[in-house]
Structures are given as structure tokens and as C-alpha cells.
């Protein structure tokens, strides 16, 4: 009864993005999925419900998205890799608990298949309006990592990456997909499994007396699971290194600083991005997700018109890849931020760019056609 045999075999597939996400999670070692039905993420739950029991792993459909992410935290505290998937309204419901996961330092993966909003919006149409919420949605100071795929292959790759990062840093990691990337079928190449890097959280196995569950000695304390015999305490209250509630300002400072710094200090190794034709570009389009596919086509067409245009596709949205954007902005005359919203990613870009920044915004529920981006580029050139 080896589960390994039932994982998606290496090879070339034509697969839906949401399904690729599930298969990636299984390969990454996800053992618990909790979710609540919501379009356009449903295929993830549906496929999970079929696949998890085949591997002796756990699928549960919870009563709402709050219960889903909380159950994911519970499973993670018990030592297993766990995830949930949702879309706009459900993502909003999860916000409080994303803060809990950050505070308790419970690794988990949240997939948000973005749809057109606000509110119920258009469930079957695409949006990219959750960029800021993904980063700032829960109250208080914390940092997490947000990846944004623009293809089925990237959805697969970044889901595995999300598990790895969450295990490495003991943080919630969000895969900020979108309706098009989720529902789109595309070519997927699955490498040999032993070529896929899998990271598991560092477990503590030393003497019980010496164990501090929230030690500040390193940025990421070693983990123990429920039932390991260490009898730990975890609380969403501000806590000291023992995990006990504390009203000491010093404890609060050290804790919050560590929660933030474990992401900030590792930002460089978390930044994932791809550049296209930026070496001599006067205008650079910064974009992500499905909009990156429109933009790349637009940039190619602009080049064929003789326009000096380049593009940076961000695969990591948070921590924001400041350095590549700043450096690009020192050579370009203008940066354009293309996104399916009224302007969200443009803010961190503007914060670091040393040249003027403008938005190409397309808020109507479709992926912008390349022509639309091209018009924006022509206007900027």
C-alpha cells in the first residue's frame, strides 16, 4: 500500500490548473485538506475528495471557510502538511485565522483562486483584486509569502514551492491564483519525483527540559507536534519563548520582530520573477498571474513594432521583490503595472521605483487582451 505509487507519474499532461494544484500538493506531501465549496476553486476540493482517500490521507468538507482554515491549523499543529483552497468571499472569511497560523507559526498553504469582486462579484469571472488582502488581510504585524502562478505549470510548481516555504519558515503561504489559471487547461510536465525538492519542517527531538517552543535563538524555532510528549502550549496571545501569554513589552517586541524578520531576512531567496527584454527597455511592464500572459504577448508585439519595451513577471508578490524592480527602474523611463483591478500591485512598485509608475488596469472580469496592454504601452512610449 505504498502511497508513492499513486502520485501523479512523471510525464507530460494536458491538465486543468486547479487539478494540477492538487496533484502538486499530493507530491509535496499534503496529508490534510479542509475546504468549503466556492467557485472558481471547486475543482480543487472535488479532486482532493477523490485523491486523498486513495492515498490514505484526509479530506473534509467543513461548514464554512473559517472552519476549513482552522481545521488546517489543527492538522498542522498535529504535525502534518495541510492546505485549503477558496476564492474571494471565502478568502475574506479566512483572514483572522491566517493571523493565527502566523502567530502560532503553523505551516499551511492557502490557495486563493481569485474571482471578480467585490463581494459576491462574478464567481465565474477572473479578478486580481486580492493582492493587498493576501498580504495585509489579517490584523496586526506579521509577514507571509504569496506566490502568483500564470500558467498550469507554474500553478503546479508554485504549489510545491508553497508547501516547502511554509514548512521552512513555519508560516502560512498563499498561492494567489486566478479564475483563468485555475480553470485553464495547459501543458504540464511532471519531473521525476526524486528531482522535486521537498522540505519538511525542522522537528525538535532534544531533551524536554531544554525545549522552548518559541525560542528566539533562530528565526524559525524547531517544531514539536501534539502527542510528541513535550506538552507544549501554543496561544494566539502574545507569548514568551515558552509559549506562555505575556504582557511584557520586550516579549512582544521580540516575537513580532521575529515573525516579520524570518520572512524579511530571507526575502532574497523567496523572490521569484522572470524578466523579458528588459536590458534595453525604456518601458517595463510589471505584472503577474494571467495578466502576465497578456502582457508578454503585448510586449512581443511592441518589440516587433520597434518599441523598446520589456516585462517583469512576478511569481512572488510578497515579500515584494523590491530589488529587481528598483534596479529596472534605474534604467527604464517608465514602469507600467498591469493587473485586473483598479491598482493594487502598483503601490509597492511605486514605493521602490525611481522612475514614474503608471497602471494598466482592467477591472471588468476578463483577462485583458494583449491589444489592451499594447495600447497602454504605446501611450507610455
Amino acid at each position: 500500500m505504498s502511497g508513492e505509487l499513486k502520485l501523479l507519474k512523471p510525464g507530460t499532461y494536458f491538465m486543468m490548473g486547479n487539478i494540477a494544484c492538487v496533484e502538486a500538493a499530493l507530491i509535496a506531501g499534503c496529508e490534510f485538506y479542509a475546504g468549503y465549496p466556492i467557485t472558481p476553486s471547486n475543482e480543487i476540493a472535488e479532486h482532493m475528495s477523490r485523491r486523498m482517500p486513495q492515498l490514505g490521507r484526509h479530506f473534509i468538507q467543513m461548514e464554512d471557510e473559517i472552519g476549513s482554515i482552522v481545521a488546517v491549523c489543527g492538522a498542522s499543529a498535529a504535525g502534518v502538511k495541510a492546505m485549503t483552497a477558496t476564492s474571494g468571499p471565502g478568502f475574506s472569511l479566512m483572514m483572522e485565522t491566517i493571523g493565527l497560523a502566523a502567530m502560532l507559526e503553523l505551516p499551511c498553504v492557502i490557495v486563493d483562486v481569485q474571482r471578480a469582486g467585490p463581494s459576491t462579484g462574478i464567481p465565474t469571472f477572473v479578478g486580481q483584486g486580492d493582492v493587498m488582502q493576501a498580504r495585509w488581510g489579517s490584523h496586526g504585524d506579521y509577514e507571509l509569502v504569496v506566490y502568483a502562478p500564470s500558467s498550469v505549470q507554474e500553478f503546479f510548481d508554485l504549489t510545491i514551492e508553497a508547501f516547502n516555504t511554509s514548512e521552512w519558515l513555519r508560516i502560512p503561504v498563499i498561492v494567489l491564483s486566478d479564475e483563468v489559471v485555475g480553470h485553464m487547461y495547459g501543458r504540464l510536465v511532471v519531473p521525476e519525483h526524486d528531482k522535486i525538492t521537498i522540505i519538511n519542517r525542522k522537528r525538535y527531538t532534544g531533551p524536554k527540559e531544554a525545549y522552548l517552543p518559541y525560542s528566539h535563538e533562530s528565526l524559525v524555532p524547531a517544531f514539536v507536534a501534539a502527542g510528541d510528549g513535550y506538552r507544549i502550549h501554543m496561544t494566539g496571545l502574545t507569548h514568551d519563548e515558552r509559549g506562555y501569554p505575556s504582557l511584557e513589552i520586550e516579549d512582544s517586541h521580540r516575537l513580532v520582530e521575529r515573525l516579520v524578520m524570518k520572512v524579511r531576512k530571507n526575502a532574497r531567496s523567496l523572490w521569484k520573477y522572470e524578466t523579458f527584454y528588459i536590458d534595453d527597455a525604456d518601458v517595463i511592464v510589471v505584472t503577474f498571474g494571467i495578466t502576465a500572459r497578456s502582457s508578454e504577448e503585448a510586449v512581443r508585439r511592441a518589440r516587433s513594432e520597434g518599441l523598446k519595451v520589456g516585462m517583469i513577471k512576478l511569481l512572488t508578490l510578497w515579500p515584494f521583490p523590491e530589488e529587481p524592480i528598483r534596479i529596472a527602474s534605474q534604467y527604464a523611463r517608465r514602469i507600467l503595472v498591469a493587473e485586473i483591478n483598479m491598482g493594487q500591485l502598483i503601490h509597492p512598485v511605486r514605493e521602490v521605483a525611481e522612475c514614474p509608475v503608471a497602471g494598466i488596469n482592467y477591472p471588468i472580469g476578463y483577462a485583458p487582451p494583449p491589444e489592451y496592454i499594447l495600447d497602454g504601452i504605446r501611450a507610455a512610449v
Binding site: E63, G67, V70, A78, L104, G227, T235, Y244
Partner: protein
């Protein structure tokens, strides 16, 4: 004289259940006359008597006065967000069926903000214990009414008397199929500890409603200002009836309308774990 000092030191510094209590965290935050110390005591006694090693016991609690209980028990203990301990416990129990997972939290936490998780966890019959401490009020936030505040009772947000009828929790849990349903007060220490021990050995969702005094909060609004007022109430107004009609065990706190206590339900029903194993078989994982 010297003997007296030794006696005092022994009382303060040692407890037969020190292995289960985080003594370094005492004194606790609970008010004089509060019943939570008794709940804590009963819980650790039940653990000691449960025949399940303490390392396998896990406690999850939410927010509020009762929520702090997880922090005082020397077990793997999780103090999570408001209303969510049951969902957290479900995730934990599903991936680690060998753990004995107990949720201890308040009425506001478990059946008001967290009511949806409560009803669905009972329906699923996840094999966890839920010990709900009902003090009829939101104590920690300043004595606001909640879904268990008796009709007409006063609180900081019901100055004219609570305008809503409260939950009848044993009826709710039983109607949803809970295999074990009990209600005791913090005065009924032996029965409560025994019920907790039984709950730990019951297969499936075991529910105990614990009626607990809150003289500083609820009591100050409703003529129960002293812990002794509650003891009198529990002594004089409680009836133990294990086979009570659960339709009639709603709490009114009116004179002549007693609080009915007992181990009302103890039955077998397939647990979430049992049913998941069936799924594993159909999926081909298990033969």
C-alpha cells in the same frame, strides 16, 4: 508553630496533580468565586483516572475566561481564536486519531460565535470531548449577554432583561446525535469528574455542559453576587435526573424551575473516523 509553616508550604507549593498543572503560571486570572478552578481540578482528575497517558491528551480552548484553561494544564495545549477550538480539534483528531482531544471553552465561544462548528462537529460525530462551561454571560469582555443568557436576565447589554430565549444545550447536542450528553454544576465535583472520565472513553462526540458560577459578572447583575449564592442555588435548585426529558431541561433560573442535571445520554454511534475508514476502503487504500 514550626509544623504550621511546613503545612502552609506544602499547601502552596505542591499538588498531587503537579504533573498535569503548569504551576509556574499560577496564580490564575479567574475571579474569586469563579467555578473554573473547579472545572480545571475535575479535568485533571479525570485525566489521571482515564487510563490514557497524559502525553496523548490534548486540550484546545478558545477565547474568554474558560479559554484560559488550556494555559494552566501541563498537556499539549492550544489556545486558538474565538469560537474556533472545535474546528481546530477536528483537524487535529482527524489526522491523529490516537490523541485524546478535549475542547474546554465557554458558552459564548462554543455555541454563540462558534455555534456553526459545534453543530457540525456533533453531526459528524468526530471523536472529541467538548466540555462547555456555561456561566450565562460573556465574562471577560464585561458581562454582555449571549446565547445562553436566560430570558429576562440582566447583563451589560441587556439592562432591561435579556430579550431572547437561550439555547437548551443538552437538547441541541442530543438532537444532533451526540453519543454522550451530560450536564453538571461545579458544585457536583465527583459527578463532573466522573462524567469527564466517561466522556474520554466514549467513542464519538462527548458533550458536557458545566454550569459554573460567575458572581463578579453575571451574578452582580442578577442577585448572585457571592460565590455562596451560587452554591445555594446549585444546592437548592438542582435536580439530578439521568433520564430527564431533554425538551424540558432548558434553564430559566426562575424560582420553582430547577436546573436538571445528569448523564442524559450514553449511546454508540459510528464516529467520523469509522466512516472515514469506509471511505478509505472504497477508494482502494484499505482492503
Amino acid at each position: 508553630m514550626g509544623q504550621k509553616v511546613v503545612l502552609r508550604e506544602r499547601i502552596v507549593d505542591e499538588s498531587p496533580r503537579d504533573d498535569l498543572i503548569r504551576r509556574e503560571r499560577f496564580p490564575h486570572i479567574w475571579c474569586p468565586g469563579c467555578g473554573l478552578g473547579t472545572v480545571l481540578k475535575c479535568y485533571v482528575e479525570a485525566i489521571a483516572a482515564s487510563n490514557i497517558p497524559p502525553d496523548k491528551h490534548v486540550i484546545v480552548s478558545g477565547i474568554g475566561c474558560t479559554g484560559r484553561i488550556a494555559g494552566y494544564v501541563r498537556l499539549d495545549s492550544y489556545h486558538v481564536t474565538h469560537g474556533r477550538p472545535i474546528a481546530f480539534a477536528e483537524g487535529m483528531k482527524i489526522v491523529r486519531p490516537d490523541l485524546e482531544v478535549t475542547v474546554i471553552s465557554g458558552d459564548g465561544d462554543l455555541v454563540t460565535i462558534g455555534g456553526n462548528h459545534f453543530i457540525h462537529a456533533v453531526r459528524r460525530n468526530v471523536d472529541i470531548n467538548v466540555f462547555l462551561v456555561n456561566n450565562f454571560i460573556y465574562g471577560m469582555t464585561g458581562n454582555q449577554m449571549g446565547s445562553t443568557t436566560p430570558l429576562g436576565a440582566k447583563s451589560s447589554t441587556s439592562p432591561y432583561g435579556c430579550p431572547e430565549p437561550p439555547f437548551n444545550l443538552p437538547l441541541l447536542a442530543a438532537a444532533l446525535g451526540a453519543p454522550f450528553v451530560a450536564r453538571w454544576t461545579t458544585l457536583h465535583v465527583r459527578q463532573l469528574a466522573d462524567a469527564m472520565k466517561r466522556a474520554m472513553n466514549v467513542k464519538g462526540f462527548a458533550f458536557i455542559e458545566i454550569i459554573s458560577p460567575c458572581p463578579v459578572g453575571f451574578g452582580s447583575y442578577n442577585d448572585l453576587r457571592d460565590g455562596r449564592d451560587y452554591i445555594k442555588l446549585f444546592l437548592e435548585n438542582c435536580i439530578v435526573d439521568h433520564s430527564a426529558d431533554l425538551n424540558k431541561v432548558g434553564i430559566t433560573l426562575k424560582p420553582g424551575e430547577p436546573i436538571i442535571l445528569g448523564n442524559f445520554i450514553d449511546r454508540e454511534a459510528p464516529t467520523y473516523h469509522d466512516l472515514e475508514l469506509e471511505v478509505f476502503k472504497k477508494a482502494g487504500w484499505l482492503k
